[in-house]
């Protein structure tokens, strides 16, 4: 029977964890019970983007977009929408500020400013069906390349498109391929870097989970261009679902002859193997990644020689990241000019950003390069939740920096971000609000880099640890103003002398927070005060006795029994027991608990008082 409805349920990581699988199973059950299985097509797709609203679902042909579904919504949706043609209003996406009912996906503000190229099929096809990929012109670009184009022509096209690597450094893809092609060698490799290690970036995961064939096709085109017959995907062990879907896609592609010997009878042969990482951030660095594929400790080595000259097992190797590779088929199909027409002068095409942190619509968005931060955060992201004030965004993970409110109208492209001391990185955008302490954030990233340093070179291994200890001192209220100068000088030395990208960029979060939020550092040092109320040693939780109603809610929730007071009596928190976990603040029904100065400050003040008295 002809299908009259396509029901696409998101099976991306976020939706899965909000139990989209249960919703899907319930649909299967209800559709069966009502005899609708033949006329309604139920498909599980990859990530659709608005992860905060999961589980999400789209119904075609009308495009109704459902959010936050539970099993209980299934009956009414089938009854009202699938049978009677009236979308079930209660769970249709409505923008939180307007609460107006929208019926079509394109009217959802979250999608309006987006331009989906790499993510076009994520959430629109069944990632485990090669047929649905082919229906969307899948493998057509590969067919065109191997039967009609010379490797030189493909590289020329890539150079013309202006595409730059989406993994972080922004090196032109075409140029990388040109070097790979120029290198002498009978054996060459193409490697897909799917070791998405930057905290806050999850676009590669979404592409692998939602549209794995696009990565395979991109790798095959790259391999043809440089003359490789073997490829590796190096994927993080933390992404089991991505690995599963990729393996399934590889099997299908092999079965159809899209991988293997003599592809499209062109004489070109190529196959791909998946290598699982084992949890080391430094393996995102290309020379470390190659060491890890070879089965060794993932330690970087100096460049040159570049991988394109001497890579895996000494053979020329080209390494591209997932998002870069997924865009390639679109460049071949639509032409370099089309790609180059999107974006800015030096940053072409679209970029996927992962929005997270203190923003209303968390999730994945794809926009033309050059869109402003304001558009990204407010028009697409929906602004800051709970009426809080925006403080900064952090881009580029542990290698990146922070952008404060004053630069909200900066266009998002490689050069503008670098100029601000932040970087594009892999596209993780973490939104920070007034409750975030910038010194704490800097310390957080340093802690990350210290733990992930491979330990090979001294500046990174020792220098970062020193920087971290200085930050710790400041967060404890024991810092001195000279420490700031010391931090800065250490940062510059480490940047200049580290062996690999990890060390060379690790001081960035400190430098950029010191540049834009020096006042917060000074408050910690001069006043022993954490303006955001985060640093545990500089705050205490205090019960405002004029507000406390003695309900005991706080005392009952306190995990360490630091709160005393009988029912109907004023409660009191013992700062020497309190761990500053914040549970009580949330529980208090009358908002009687506030954040006061910490022990360090009180100590300093009492000493001062004592000194004044003795004088």
């Amino acid at each position: 029977m002809k299908k009259r409805l396509d029901v696409l349920i998101c099976g991306g990581g976020a939706c899965l964890s909000s139990h989209s699988q249960d919703v899907k199973n319930k649909f299967i059950e209800v559709l069966k019970a009502k005899g609708l299985t033949d006329e309604i097509n139920l498909v599980e797709t990859g990530c659709m983007g608005p992860c905060e609203m999961g589980p999400v679902m789209v119904v075609y042909p009308d495009g109704s977009f459902y959010v936050q579904l539970t099993e209980n919504d299934v009956e009414p949706i089938v009854e009202e929408h699938f049978l009677k043609g009236r979308p079930y209003q209660k769970k249709l996406w409505a923008a939180p500020e307007a609460r107006k009912i929208v019926e079509e996906k394109r009217q959802v503000p979250f999608f309006e400013k987006q331009q989906k190229v790499v993510l076009a099929l994520c959430g629109k096809i069944d990632p485990e069906s090669v047929d649905e990929y082919i229906a969307n012109r899948g493998y057509e670009a590969l067919g065109k390349v191997v039967t009609e184009m010379t490797p030189e022509a493909v590289i020329e096209e890539m150079l013309k498109s202006g595409q730059r690597g989406r993994g972080g450094a922004g090196f032109p893809t075409g140029l990388k391929w040109k070097f790979g092609k120029a290198s002498e060698g009978k054996q060459k490799y193409i490697v897909c870097n799917a070791d998405e290690g930057d905290p806050g970036a999850f676009m590669d995961r979404a592409v692998l989970e939602g549209d794995p064939h696009s990565v395979i096709e991109g790798m095959a085109i790259a391999a043809y261009s440089i003359g490789a017959d073997k490829g590796f995907v190096y994927c993080r062990a933390e992404y089991p679902l991505a690995i599963k879907r990729l393996e399934a896609a590889l099997k299908q592609a092999r079965a159809m002859g899209l991988l293997g010997k003599n592809i499209f009878e062109s004489g070109f042969s190529f196959d791909i193997e998946v290598r699982m990482g084992a949890g080391a951030f430094v393996c995102g660095e290309e020379t470390a990644l190659m060491a890890s594929i070879e089965g060794k400790r993932g330690q970087p080595r100096p460049k040159p020689p570049f991988p394109a000259q001497k890579g895996l097992w000494g053979h020329p190797t080209v390494i591209n990241n997932v998002e870069t590779l997924a865009a390639i088929r679109h460049i071949i199909l639509n032409g370099a000019d089309w790609y180059a027409s999107i974006g800015t002068e030096k940053s072409k095409g679209t970029k996927v950003f992962a929005l997270s942190g203190k923003v209303v619509n968390t999730g994945l968005v794809e926009v033309p390069m050059g869109i402003t931060l304001r558009e990204l955060l407010y028009d697409i992201g929906g602004g800051i939740p709970n009426g809080k004030k925006f403080k900064a965004v952090q881009t580029g993970g542990p290698s990146g920096g922070c952008i404060p409110a004053a630069h909200m109208d900066t266009p998002l492209d490689y050069e503008s971000l670098t100029k601000l001391g932040a970087i594009m990185g892999s596209g993780g955008v973490i939104v920070l609000d007034e409750d975030t302490c910038m010194v704490n954030v800097a310390k957080f990233f340093l802690e990350f880099s210290v733990e992930e340093s491979c330990g090979q070179c001294a500046p990174c291994r020792i220098g970062l640890k020193q920087m971290h200890d200085l930050l710790e001192k400041i967060c404890e209220g024991k810092g001195k103003m000279e420490d700031l100068d010391l931090l800065e000088s250490l940062a510059h030395t480490i940047k200049a002398t580290s062996l690999c990208g990890l060390g060379q960029t690790a001081p960035n979060p400190v430098l950029s927070t010191m540049k834009y939020f020096r006042d917060e550092y000074e408050a910690h040092i001069k006043e022993q005060r954490c303006p955001a109320g985060v640093c545990k040693d500089l705050i205490s939780y205090v019960v405002d006795e004029s507000k406390c109603i003695g309900c005991t809610a706080c005392a009952r929730t306190c995990p360490v029994s630091a709160i005393s007071g009988a029912p109907k009596q004023k409660h009191r928190i013992d700062p020497s027991i309190c761990t500053r976990c914040g549970s009580c603040i949330v529980k208090c029904p009358v908002k009687a608990i506030y954040i006061g100065p910490g022990a360090v400050k009180r100590e300093v003040e009492s000493k001062k008082l004592h000194l004044e008295k003795t004088l």
Binding site: M1, K2, K3, R4, L5, D6, L8, D38, E39, N41, Y60, P61, D62, G63, F82, L83, K84, G85, R86, K124, I125, D131, E132, I134, A135, N136, R137, G138, Y139, E140, G143, T147, M256, G257, L258, I263, F264, E265
Partner: protein, 120 residues
């Protein structure tokens, strides 16, 4: 696999996902309000889906809507064609549905006996 084989797979596969593109020549809307369903609209809808599949009409979209208020004529079906306006049919039983597919959708001549309204 040859390039032509890929094309063939694509042509076949495209038809299975046509709903997601919103591209179609003709849209058939079956009124599925309470009285429509009571009058047998479910059967009508099924008949359309089966017949369209049988004839391989991949550019026809079948969808459902609430009722138009023409209870006495249920099941009510609207056929809309790009640039040609709408034809509203009443009392569309299974047999009438089959007839509409054969005469209207395939040959372009509406089934006059069941027409209750024409909107240009």
């Amino acid at each position: 696999m040859k390039l032509e084989d890929l094309k063939k797979i694509r042509e076949k596969a495209e038809k299975d996902i046509v709903l997601r593109d919103g591209k179609s020549r003709i849209k058939v809307t079956v009124g599925m309000g309470t009285s429509g369903i009571a009058a047998g609209a479910r059967e009508t809808l099924k008949a359309f889906l089966e017949e369209i599949e049988k004839r391989g009409l991949h550019d026809v979209l079948v969808t459902q809507a609430g009722e138009k208020g023409l209870s006495s004529h249920e099941p009510v079906v609207t056929v809309s064609e790009e640039g040609k306006g709408q034809v509203v049919y009443g009392n569309v039983t299974r047999d009438v549905a089959v007839k509409i597919v054969a005469e209207h959708l395939v040959n372009g001549s509406p089934v006059s006996a069941n027409i209750i309204e024409v909107n240009k």
